[in-house]
Symmetry: D2
Subunit: 234 residues, 4 copies
Amino acid sequence: MKWNTAISKHEEGALSIRGVSHASLMQEHSFSEAAFLLLSGHLPSSDERAVFDAMLVSSIEHGVEAPSAFSARVSASVGNPLHIATAAGILATGDHHGGAIEAAADYFKKGTSAKEVLDAGAKYPGFGHKLYKDLDPRAQLLLSIAEKHGFAREYVTHARAVETELRELGKPLPLNIDGALAALMLELGLSPRLGKALFVFARMPGIIAHSLEEVENEKPYRRISDTDVTYTGP
Amino acid sequence: MKWNTAISKHEEGALSIRGVSHASLMQEHSFSEAAFLLLSGHLPSSDERAVFDAMLVSSIEHGVEAPSAFSARVSASVGNPLHIATAAGILATGDHHGGAIEAAADYFKKGTSAKEVLDAGAKYPGFGHKLYKDLDPRAQLLLSIAEKHGFAREYVTHARAVETELRELGKPLPLNIDGALAALMLELGLSPRLGKALFVFARMPGIIAHSLEEVENEKPYRRISDTDVTYTGP
Amino acid sequence: MKWNTAISKHEEGALSIRGVSHASLMQEHSFSEAAFLLLSGHLPSSDERAVFDAMLVSSIEHGVEAPSAFSARVSASVGNPLHIATAAGILATGDHHGGAIEAAADYFKKGTSAKEVLDAGAKYPGFGHKLYKDLDPRAQLLLSIAEKHGFAREYVTHARAVETELRELGKPLPLNIDGALAALMLELGLSPRLGKALFVFARMPGIIAHSLEEVENEKPYRRISDTDVTYTGP
Amino acid sequence: MKWNTAISKHEEGALSIRGVSHASLMQEHSFSEAAFLLLSGHLPSSDERAVFDAMLVSSIEHGVEAPSAFSARVSASVGNPLHIATAAGILATGDHHGGAIEAAADYFKKGTSAKEVLDAGAKYPGFGHKLYKDLDPRAQLLLSIAEKHGFAREYVTHARAVETELRELGKPLPLNIDGALAALMLELGLSPRLGKALFVFARMPGIIAHSLEEVENEKPYRRISDTDVTYTGP
């Protein structure tokens, strides 16, 4: 197995990342700036950094009710170390939890309209939310921050147009956090393929906090109560 | 299953995290600040933030050679989505890759000396590195940043004393990045139990960048070459 | 969260699985018979059992070169317990390693011809192998066992017809183990969706054996050699 | 990275496992026999096979209430493929769910008495069960099968002695399934280190059946109900 990589280089004991000295990254840049460098290939402008930070903070935590949070707690609860619990949290994200970002980004990139999607009998990814029926406040706030920093451009405009179109077509579904993140990923020039990975990165602090709270405060071994189970078999 | 949590609260459609409104976090705080809030329970001072950022950036990437990087690439290479590849990268961290942080933090917290550990026939976790024999430059830089911000106190002093003691005992092993992170975790008041989880969080951007590079540039299905395998059986 | 399940029932301290007493399963049935019961809903006939056993044994191990084997070893090598290493092995299976079973089963179920697939510019899943160019011996043997037990019927016939068709179309690719498993899954009435899960179940003994061998015989921390890495960046 | 392995060999297109031709394994041996070969290094006698089968069947499924079952369902529920869901199920096993096997095997191997463990303020692993207070029926049945096949020897005798001793010491805890599996692993000459890995292998059919049931019968996205959450923070 041979490996080609443009990500980092060891040379005479010194590491550079995307051509930038690791030492200078540690001294002069924040974690989100260094993360942006790794994912995009260049250090962010201050506007890019502000939008990227807001994107990450928007997804950082959403309650123990989220599958990623309670699954991590369950893994910690049965006796696994916390890094394993975070992996368990990640395996509880997917197409229906953080996963609409990639699908929405694909549509936004192609400029797909709501009508096209509904005519095909599908749902437009990135719109609608279990809790927020009219308006996803995290999505709205995210877009207002992006506007302030000059990043509500082509893709945000398209996302808002789809939201309007859905209402006119009798399917009023708010742009949700996945949809807003998808539009902003494209505005920042990040690969649409990063969708789910970016979400799990952003959610990691919440997942870790839940895992730690579980092992510090709770007795081991989370088990479903018998009263929540109905047997439907032979 | 009932859940108690002090991490976040949904109230009338608004989310607060550790008592701070999520909306204000998104507008006024960076990702690492919000992460610090989740993990410690309070927003960081600007010195705490600087040290925490440097800690995270210190571990953000260390080459495709690291087990966490190439294992994530292998998972992506066989056709898994990127969020799954990041989980695979995490399962390739552990006691011997990022894992000395917790063990070192436990010793530092108790003020354990090098002599005690060597007398017991063990190695002092957080000292020594495969690549760096004399001095781990990432560790040194991290401590100098901590000093600048007033965070080289009790635990950093102890870590440096152990380094000196090891040299005097004829086992010259430099404080490594795990050891430096352990000391600084304690200086910042973070739980020693966070060691491995904090490492995987910090390494996530590198892991994601490697997974993306693999799927964008390489043909699928990483397989070990037959020439690297020796059969030793019957 | 409420759960409905037809899989097993606890009643007065006794467990039944798919309506069969667990105690009688333990006394009267082999592991593969009980596994078949869980996956299909009924106990196998002796012919079904023979084919199912051969399917599982066919995929049980394929060398340390396979991503699932060496990834599990790497996870064990960095200090994780063996059950975590097996999960790491599973995250190194996917569409390109064990994953063609589901895709092939979908095509076989619809009776899709080779011409249709090639005309669409695609590859027919379940045909071709990196090592075996003319004939996949595991696939051939599996089908001969199935024939002996009366299970080379509708789907096996179709799979063989596709193999012939591919040769005639100038794309001579042998039915591989994934394709043979796909055909036999359908013959046994198992859900095509089980493809990848069935593969990881079958491969588990090999994955575990590799993980154990790693921790018993090797020094910790598998790292890629610098000589296998080429830097292609700025 | 160089790899040494005694597990399997490719030679002139043919695979052998532990020195046995893969083709003959497929034709003449059951899945559990081939699994035993991989894990122990030799094919089982018919008595060994019977005990090994019973061990595996004893742990094959224990209801949706078990963390490994519902965590796999949650991973499938958020949109991951089934092989990923099985990995999620595995990350929800650990020291407190399947994990006592290794700890018990370590004690049994050393002949540790109940008094020694209780005097040290610890619990003897492999004894006691949340559901079964007096007697773990799966453990009892397993031992009776082992007896019938001549495998209730040194380690089973010790396990039963510990059970009696615990009762006499006023801590009446039944030998549980983990304890029985630990004793039988040792009787069969398997490595104690296999404990958790053997458990996840045995439980895999149950985990897969639950994952499949979830995606076939339930709507996506399992989320904890707000009514099951109590906020305890600032």
